[in-house]
Symmetry: C2
């Protein structure tokens, strides 16, 4: 029979990253394509210990159904952590645990988006957020950005002239894909514009704790006076992504709607994962763990930037991220990163072409490099090979 | 600010079960309301053992991101299990792991339903399937059912006379909420009707392995000649619900669409949960474990039926399920089960009024009883108290 899918399916395509990742599973490939944390830093022994404790103390609870909202002590910890680090004022019941922050993106679409509604985002923006929102048949308008983040005057112009803007999607800290961090002024001005027009901002912050230098910035939420900013967070980058535990934090009237759609979407998060993370946070220092991650990633970032400075052709520009997992490369306008990828795969080096990070297409002369996931010698070797390929295109 | 939610949010309300469950958390309440497996049967020691093995052998993989499709050995096991027990012919790559079978329901809505499309279902049907599909703004038509299942002539009439029927949602084995099991003839005739009209059937089968008596029935899928039946399954009732691991199985052309929407919805299931379940299945006998569950639930079913027979007023009818977790009670038409609940809660006995299991409302004289989740003495005491309340209404 011929299957009749929903109209929305025509707009969805497989994530280019996930497709490239399949190709790059061969061990000889040096892949800058993924967004994977360094697995050698996972606290495996500690996780074995907390698994044992949770199951011994509370096994029947840990393996049973639980509430949609999530494990109360973990929600409490998240609220306190955010309030301390991000200048927010959340209570535990303003936090909903989600199946990774990807689910929080999907639920955001479900709670807010009608067909034809408009989502504003940075240009470029996170690929999987585009996929999540596209499933609700929205339109995207890309707000021009520079090294300091979204440009408030441009945002204001769009808000003045566009109907049905429902969400402004942002990643102010060590953005995916560019690695850029918004300046203090931009944070304040963007939130002011959203408050003036009463539009919801999604502040996605998976990388904020992974800062290598400089002082932490206040969150967008800390400037919010009307409840328009919703915060997303995750344990994927500071603990382990395999657990799939993230969260959404916001006004109670909003979070109650997220709870409702999560009930229908998957009832609840994995119970034992929630309890193991809570037990880990009780028994160990996550700050010590995050310090370790930061220092390893900093070395890798330093090295990646140095090789790019030394080896990339002069007409190639790139970001020097102050934290996070990614750097962003711009090639001369006439060079297509997909062509570069084809050649570099022949030398067993992979990355993600940047075009997919622009929801309305274009800008094929860009690419994203991940520097968190491999030992230093492979970073050097891989970037040198990539530099060689780039020189073939730019000579 | 006033929040502008998507139109779909107006149709969604909190699950009555989850709300009742919150009320019934006090230990003195004897609750027949949930659909919870018996926690004393969870294989806690075995799970501690497999956690240790998985983390020792393969910790960095178990805590890292993995593919959207899921852990290959687990998909392979599921395909073989279904083919052996249900007369299907699935290959591993026709299985997608989902975050519980609830997520498979949500993804089904996303893959197939446009606003205004029609979902056919048994009358009554599973409450949380109604919520999952409603989020895609569909309409429901309830197909009349009797003790043998959906009535094919009625289904045929509806299919002849209705445009935009996209899905037929069914639970042929030990249905939730009624506990009923479809006869062989009904299975064949319903699939024939679906094939004739080229409409997708969702065959939801969370309880099929929990049969207390009689022979297993072939699945609807085993009659499918055109790829129109999609099967849902879960480890929640045969292993542990806290893991949130279920699956959807179907034609490759359909499963590839589910993979696409799962990527946007939450990237993937919990990695370590998938690997622990696979390791458990490798090292232990799930058949022995399921036998244990079956024999405990059978005792509870027998007891519940006996008390209902002995104590309930004669004008109250109820099902005698051959498996699963639930029995269904019908009161005289003038009695509202919500009123009964109010009085029985005063005697610390809870259940779920049946009205919410009818997507288009009505039939408030029904209720659902769960018999899997409590020790025998509490079943006796609880049902005796409930019988007392019923006698107050019917005297």
């Amino acid at each position: 029979m011929e299957f009749k899918f929903a109209n929305r399916m025509a707009q969805l395509k497989a994530s280019e990253i996930r497709e490239i990742l399949k190709v790059t599973e061969r061990p000889e490939v040096i892949s800058f394509a993924g967004g994977l944390p360094a697995p050698e830093l996972f606290p495996i022994k500690e996780i074995m210990a907390v698994n044992k404790i949770v199951l011994e103390e509370n096994g029947t609870k840990a393996l049973q159904y639980t509430t949609t909202e999530g494990f109360a002590p973990l929600r409490e910890w998240i609220a306190q952590r955010m309030n301390k680090g991000l200048g927010t004022g959340f209570e535990a019941d303003e936090i909903l645990l989600t199946h990774g922050s990807q689910q929080a993106l999907d639920l955001s679409g479900k709670v807010f988006l009608n067909e034809g509604d408009v989502v504003l985002c940075e240009s470029p923006t996170y690929l999987a957020a585009i996929s999540a929102f596209k499933a609700y048949s929205c339109e995207f308008i890309e707000v021009p950005t520079d090294d300091e983040g979204m440009i408030p005057e441009e945002l204001e112009k769009i808000l003045e002239n566009t109907k049905n803007v429902k969400l402004i999607y942002t990643i102010p800290d060590f953005q995916n894909p560019t690695g850029r961090t918004w300046s203090l002024e931009r944070r304040e001005l963007v939130v002011k514009a959203a408050m003036k027009h009463e539009v919801i901002i999604i502040e996605d912050n998976p990388y904020g704790e992974l800062r290598f230098e400089g002082d932490a910035m206040p969150s967008l939420k800390s400037f919010d006076e009307i409840g328009c900013v919703i915060c997303l967070g995750t344990f994927s980058k500071i603990f382990c992504p395999g657990y799939r535990i993230g969260w959404v934090a916001g006004d109670k009237g909003i979070i109650s709607k997220y709870v409702l759609v999560k009930q229908g979407a998957d009832l609840q998060c994995n119970t034992i994962a929630q309890m193991e993370i809570a037990k880990y946070l009780e028994l160990y220092s996550i700050d010590d763990h995050i310090s370790k991650i930061r220092s390893v990633y900093k070395i890798r970032r330093d090295l990646a930037v140095k090789i790019m400075e030394d080896e990339f052709p002069e007409t190639v520009t790139f970001t020097r991220p102050k934290g996070g997992l990614f750097a962003w490369v711009e090639l001369p306008p006439n060079i297509n990163a997909r062509d570069v990828l084809e050649k570099s795969l022949k030398k067993n080096v992979a990355f993600v072409p940047g075009g997919s990070f622009f929801p309305n297409g274009g800008r094929e002369n860009t690419l994203r490099l991940n520097f968190s996931n491999m030992p230093e010698d492979r970073i050097v070797e891989g970037l040198k090979r990539l530099a060689g390929v780039l020189r073939e295109f730019i000579s």
